[in-house]
Symmetry: D2
Subunit: 354 residues, 4 copies
């Protein structure tokens, strides 16, 4: 069976409807780009860079509100202190492998210089997960140019999943992991909001993996060759066009924990489970001394909170369904989640009639 998205297999998680592409790019203005590096010479490279633009290039002067939650902080997300302090995000975001956070972070400064952004300094947001089980990470293959290429090629519309961008060398619940995305449409207070997630999924043990409650990991049994179980990480980027304040974005970010739990992630010690949520529904322009804002009443956030959990859950599962078996350094092979078996197991767990 060819790789597919979860819904294409007839499996629906959650109750809220997805957007047009069931992707973070359903949130208007969001752009995603990838640089994917797969090479066998001079060393075995399985890595890349994922870029997410919260708006188009106007982000440099038209900030979005943002908030971060660290469920388990064995990871890196640069730019943290400033988002925690001010709640504003005014630059694109990248995700890459652990050893390359730095060069990718500085690359965003270089991009800003190239594009004549009028800011004395920048505190870019770059996060990571570790791909050294498949990728020769200590060869430091990612360059400034790779990062800028991912940023430059970012587009709206449907986006690739699985072994792409920063997600190229990932392992998730002891299957091949990677990049995944999903979205939800929320109707509240007479308005329609979209919320989308993009994950770089690289965490978890197989026995805890569940899909819509079904213990699929236990059913599929242990791996023949041990893969990293208790290390790894997951980065979740949540985007919405709802008019939220920074403190509300923090709340949204915290709900990625819930979606992660539904799939079977418990935040093992070695995992960097760090979640960023941003909201494009307000504009904070560099030229303004007073900004006029709208705030969705906290009382009316429940559907968004649930949607944050649902998109995280489905984005992880989409990463698993899209990622293909990969062999990397040291002869390590991470096997893809077998979709035909998956469908069979889900069938076996269908409830009998009442």
């Amino acid at each position: 069976m060819p790789r597919a998205r979860l819904r294409d297999l007839g499996i629906v998680t959650g109750t809220l409807p997805p957007g047009q592409w069931n992707a973070i790019t359903d949130v208007p203005g969001i752009r995603v780009g990838y640089t994917t590096l797969i090479d066998d010479t001079p060393s075995i490279i399985r890595t890349g860079v994922t870029a997410v633009w919260p708006r188009g290039p106007e982000i440099w002067t038209d900030a979005v509100f943002a908030g971060i939650h660290s469920f388990n902080g064995n990871g890196e997300m640069t730019g943290w202190a400033w988002i925690a302090e001010q709640g504003l995000l005014a630059s694109p975001i990248c995700i890459t492998n652990t050893h390359s956070v730095g060069i990718v972070r500085d690359a965003i400064c270089r991009l800003a210089a190239r594009d004549k952004v009028e800011m004395p300094w920048l505190l870019p947001v770059v996060a990571e997960t570790y791909d050294g089980w498949l990728n020769d990470a200590v060869s430091f293959p990612i360059t400034t140019e790779h990062a800028i290429a991912a940023l430059d090629c970012a587009t709206t519309g449907p986006i690739a999943e699985g072994n792409v961008g920063g997600g190229t060398g990932m392992i998730c619940h002891e299957f091949k992991g990677g990049t995944g995305t999903a979205s939800r449409i929320v109707q509240t207070v007479g308005e329609t909001y979209t919320i989308g997630a993009l994950v770089q999924a690289n965490y978890g043990s197989r026995d805890l993996l569940r899909i819509d409650g079904v213990p699929i990991g236990r059913e599929l049994g242990p791996t023949e060759v041990p893969t990293p179980r208790e290390a790894g990480s997951i980065i979740v980027i949540l985007a919405t066009d709802a008019p939220l304040l920074p403190i509300q974005c923090q709340r949204l970010a915290r709900r990625a924990t819930t979606g992660l739990a539904w799939v079977g992630g418990v935040g093992f010690n070695g995992s960097g489970d760090i979640f960023l949520a941003f909201a494009t529904g307000n504009h904070v322009r560099a030229s303004e001394t007073i900004s006029t804002l709208r705030m969705l009443s906290p009382d009316k956030m429940n559907a968004l909170l649930q949607a944050a959990a649902e998109t995280t859950e489905e984005a992880i599962l989409n990463a698993l369904c899209a990622a293909e078996t990969m062999t990397g350094v040291h002869g390590h092979t991470a096997h893809e989640l077998p979709l035909d078996t998956l469908v069979n197991v889900m069938q076996r767990y269908r409830p009998r009639p009442a």
Copy 2:
């Protein structure tokens, strides 16, 4: 079918083994006591106080390490600032209804004065959930004596669940909720640790309720008469005898989020989802200028982290299974989770053979 604990129904969640009582009191030294107030005159009272002693009375001079996590802070836990600052807990904990947090908190100060505790001041930990849908909360029925009675009657060994103590008037996933408990035994680094949870469960919507992944809430269908769905709260107290530092207790507390998610809690806006974890494995005596401590390596915490999630999950389900239908103010009735139907549904979701 009489009320029962989840395991007595043949339903096992999680993979780690429980302790002797499958209760927080499996952690050596922990004592739990209740004052339960159920009365129809002069007003309809359905409330109470739960007391948890981290050690016996020696707690006043032999502190435990502790850490707090607020998943959704629409609630109260007094003593927060000091635990966040210092990571020490040197007094018993109470849980009660929202309107009585204050009197119960001061009662712990009065108890210390009564028992000649030599401390100039105390910053007691008292948490709450709201029972005003069943209880005439604005009659403020809880007194200092009620709180002290719960503290004084606390014991080790098996403890009551359901409509007892602070959990008396709770509603959970639109069923009758209340107090619940569970425990797990963890083997690691050649040592055996116990971890236990006690919850006061008063949150959640029915359609999200799951047991071992089975969407039991959807199967049982909506309530005939609406009950509070998006308000409510859950307090989780996690205890362990592992030798953890304060920062490790914070990590443990955060895993209650995972167990809550497994049952279907997403932290709605109106919910005060606040989690306290403490560890008795070290002793910090008031008389010491230097304390000698042991620390379990963070790398070896994974089973404890998973166990924190598992105990939270099962403690909530035990609360649901124990709590009995209750009619309170305004003729409101919260219906118990029907155990026979529950067993039937779980049966229908048993997987077919491969």
Copy 3:
């Protein structure tokens, strides 16, 4: 020399101009009330309650944004979790002694019930400092009525300082401490904002006390009879009419640390140094599903940040200048800061001409 305010002594700290009353009540709408309990029978009582209304009674349905910072958390501020989560404050604030936080907290719930506030539950903000060196705290003299009286008598305009309200039994830098207030006017972005502080000052060692940089504590020498040095606490309430978001209120609250440092407070272990800032410049009405807000650009906050430090500094000094010598339990006497000596010392430290 009679007690006086710092500026009445010709001593000016900071550079920004104060408001009309040099008080937190310069911020439009803020009301302050006190209950002061001084009695010698049946026991020696030196305590009270301070009430601060962020708006008039409309606060119950027209919330202000708020943020908290704990510089040293050996103290209590109830309501913390919800302000940290949501950033909204929709009830009056009280400050009292440590043993009475609870009864005063519940009293605000009772007041809401009395005044038919339509809210299912409340999470009131009540903070404390410890007055047991002068006050027979373990007699628990404060009642619900005392708290409600402070709330009911709150007014705008000039307010009392020194031995009043919750500040009645305080000790500060080993002098008699108490309640103090100050304000600043800030011009920025073509608008005029007022920021005010109210402190309950009960911390610090004499040798660190400074006024406008002058080491007044060292000059005045040690106390003859030891007073509490390293215990004690300070609560700071900062109010402004600037249009700030919750995350900006948190930043403001953090600057109380700076003002405290200027007076000589270093946050000793026994001190509960907890700071709350709220901003009335936006209205979040309970009836709204979408609120329209204004936000002062973070880039334009500098004068407000400095003003937060300046008002904290001067409010502490006003507390010291207003408080009069008090004898309390166990024959303990806390001596007032001697104003004539103070003026002499400040004169001796005047710079010589260049």
Copy 4:
């Protein structure tokens, strides 16, 4: 008058005694190294890298406890999430300019690879302040080799101050700023502890600068040519050999705010005021499953807390006293603090006899 350290000018701030070198290197095992880049071709370079080793190379497998505080988060300190989560620091620290945080951060990964450190991944701590007013930052002059050179040349004993390392292009209180250090010896509980600070000082407005309470900035008058006032940042590294837990290191870090306030820093919006404290008094070895620790009683931390403030204060002043006038890009000149005038002003503020 040649550049000198503050105490060499006869000016003593604080009351606790300094260590042998009055430097962070008074804490046994701490090593500091610099790479200083000053060049006029091909572009005007005034920048560098500062390296701090918490222990010698054994740090890779023998971690120290650590804690971070962000007083104003307009800055970057990588590694934050993991220190916040686990409280362990197992790698050297660097400080550099804003645009080069990334390359320096990755350089620590490369150093670990070079030196065969057996760790799958690293989350290095690298902080920054902005030097673009004097340095051609957008030429990105700092290389991997520069960072490794600073790490490799680190030594114990007395260390350089002023225009060295990451502090090369700094401006502080509108004077030439840079790198500074100081230390204090604390006697408590029958033990002797050393605490040291190293700062990269690049913040502040001249009118707020104070030395031992004397308003030296106002006395010296405004700059002729405007320098950056409200931007800039300060990084503070605090080290001690006291046996502190991570949560106690966080408390220590927070006291840098106090020392900063004493010099006149209020944390303007544009400032990244981020403080890291670590304690070498415990050993957490990678090979251990249970570590045996000592903890100084929180009650006995007061002298250390005050010492943290004092060392921060004096380290900033040492940076100002050491830094020499520098001309950089765009003909910008940052003038050194004139020491002869400083001494005169301090003399004028000497108190008259009582």
